[in-house]
């Protein structure tokens, strides 16, 4: 019997809670900006509140990741896939932390109050400025679309590991699948 190294239970919990939050966030985001219905106001309030929740969770998750690390990737994983795995993880962390901050700064630079669910008012984190607002607004839109594209690639890669390579990478974060997986240990190497 060979055991696949997995992320810690805390890391797995954070991953799946945030997966739900982030997908909800992105779908609300593209929907609300195309909506003029009264639900627009509800959606934008959820969007701002969830953004702050994601920011806090992402910072906790980054700290946990720095402390607990990640399970090693399989030794026989081709180099381009290893590189893609590492780069996509950097991108995901940068977007999880960056997008809420950019959104918060974007609202600040437009002089809007930032009001969360429950009537919580946040202070501005950027000066009011047309030029700054434009940069942040464009960044918020395009990075959000990029985020969704990276998530789709992340899902595709996870399923590739689960269904095609069956190398234990999916199981490191996902549920334990009942199919027969390829032995990978001791052929794993440290991820970082």
């Amino acid at each position: 019997m060979i055991r696949v190294p997995r992320f810690t239970p805390l890391q797995r919990a954070l991953h799946w809670i945030m997966a739900v939050c982030i997908l909800t966030m992105l779908f609300i985001g593209v929907h609300m900006v195309s909506s003029i219905n009264p639900k627009y106001l509800t959606l934008i309030t959820i969007h701002k509140t969830l953004g702050i929740v994601i920011l806090v969770l992402a910072l906790i998750r980054l700290a946990v990741r720095l402390r607990s690390g990640a399970p090693p990737l399989p030794l026989d994983l081709p180099e381009p896939m290893k590189l893609a795995a590492h780069l996509s993880h950097y991108a995901l962390y940068a977007l999880m932390i960056g997008l809420p901050l950019i959104g918060w700064a974007m609202l600040s630079s437009a002089g809007y109050p930032i009001v969360l669910w429950g009537g919580i008012w946040l202070p501005p984190i950027a000066p009011q400025s047309d030029g700054l607002h434009t940069v942040l607004w464009q960044a918020h839109v395009w990075l959000a679309l990029l985020f969704y594209a990276v998530i789709l690639m992340h899902v595709a890669a996870a399923l590739f590991h689960a269904l095609v390579r069956r190398d234990g990478v999916f199981e490191a974060m996902g549920p334990e699948l009942n199919h027969r997986a390829e032995a990978t240990s001791p052929a794993h190497q440290p991820a970082e």
């Binding site: 106001l41 434009t134 595709a156 269904l163």
Partner: protein, 356 residues
Amino acid sequence: METPLPEPLRPPLRSALGSLVLIAAVVAFGAAAFAYTAAWLSPQKLTPDRLVEALAPPSGPALGHRRNHAKGICFTGVFEANGAGSELSTAQVFAKGEYPVVGRFNLGTPDPDAADASVRVRGIGVMITTPDGEEWRTAMINPPIFAVSTPQGFYDLLEASASKDPDAMGAFVQAHPEFAAFGGWAKDGPWTGSYAEERYNGLNAFVFTDSAGDRRAVRWSIIPAAEPVPVSPEELAKRGPNFLEEEIAERIKQGPLRWTMAVTVANPGDPTADPTKAWPDDRRKIEVGTLTVQAIIPEPDGPCRDVNYDPTVLPNGMATSDDPFPAARSSAYRVSFDRRAAEAKDYPRTAPGASL
């Protein structure tokens, strides 16, 4: 928790192919669901972008300017609350006291160079800040009722007005009988020669929450201290193209300009979701304070220039109601703001370095 794994086994080729097809299907479904949610697949849906684009004249929008109510002039002043509003709402702005205001008199036109006498609807944007850090933004206009019942109706009105088809407006009025009241005001309602003589009406219904948690539907207006003097539109047309801005800048030299803010409380069953329907005159009215305009500042360097008078920026103790307009206005004003901020170089600022 660690997973026990059996002996190594590569999946057979056919199963791998099937898996790749499955993965591609998952990604394609994810992309399609996203595009659907974003309305990229629904070219007929009324989006804030389409609403804002419909405001533009055939020659295109005035870059760098608000997409509607594009012509205006800034003011600063105070809102002096008399304390009576605290009965209706916990917002600090109703607690007895003076709170600073940044506002804007404006004309309901997408053309920042429109002649003042050519524009029927006059408006005021008001932003009041309170020491607790909260804000109340409201944008009011001088007609007593709104033109249409729904945001879609407003879009239809814009389309009909812009149409080259001579029957378009007729067809619109047939389809929107609620337009008759506004049409009557536009045709026969009084004109004045001053922003200071106008009564401005919020028209949309909002919900105030008092300290006991009771919620009441309200609308608000500001009533001028200056006596309105009716002037015929023919007479106004003889004045200069900017007579309203010139008049208000002159008038302020004689002293501050004042309006009384009155909040009207709906009775149960009064229509809150339709700003074309006025509430009966006998509804309870509470005077909550006085808006005092102390200084007039041209817009190019004025403090109102970069303010989005989004009517959904409300302090705690005020909220939107089932009136569909504040949400639609908020979404459209946001698009207008995003666009004009990005076009700041096209806006004729007077002071170099006035913006970043």
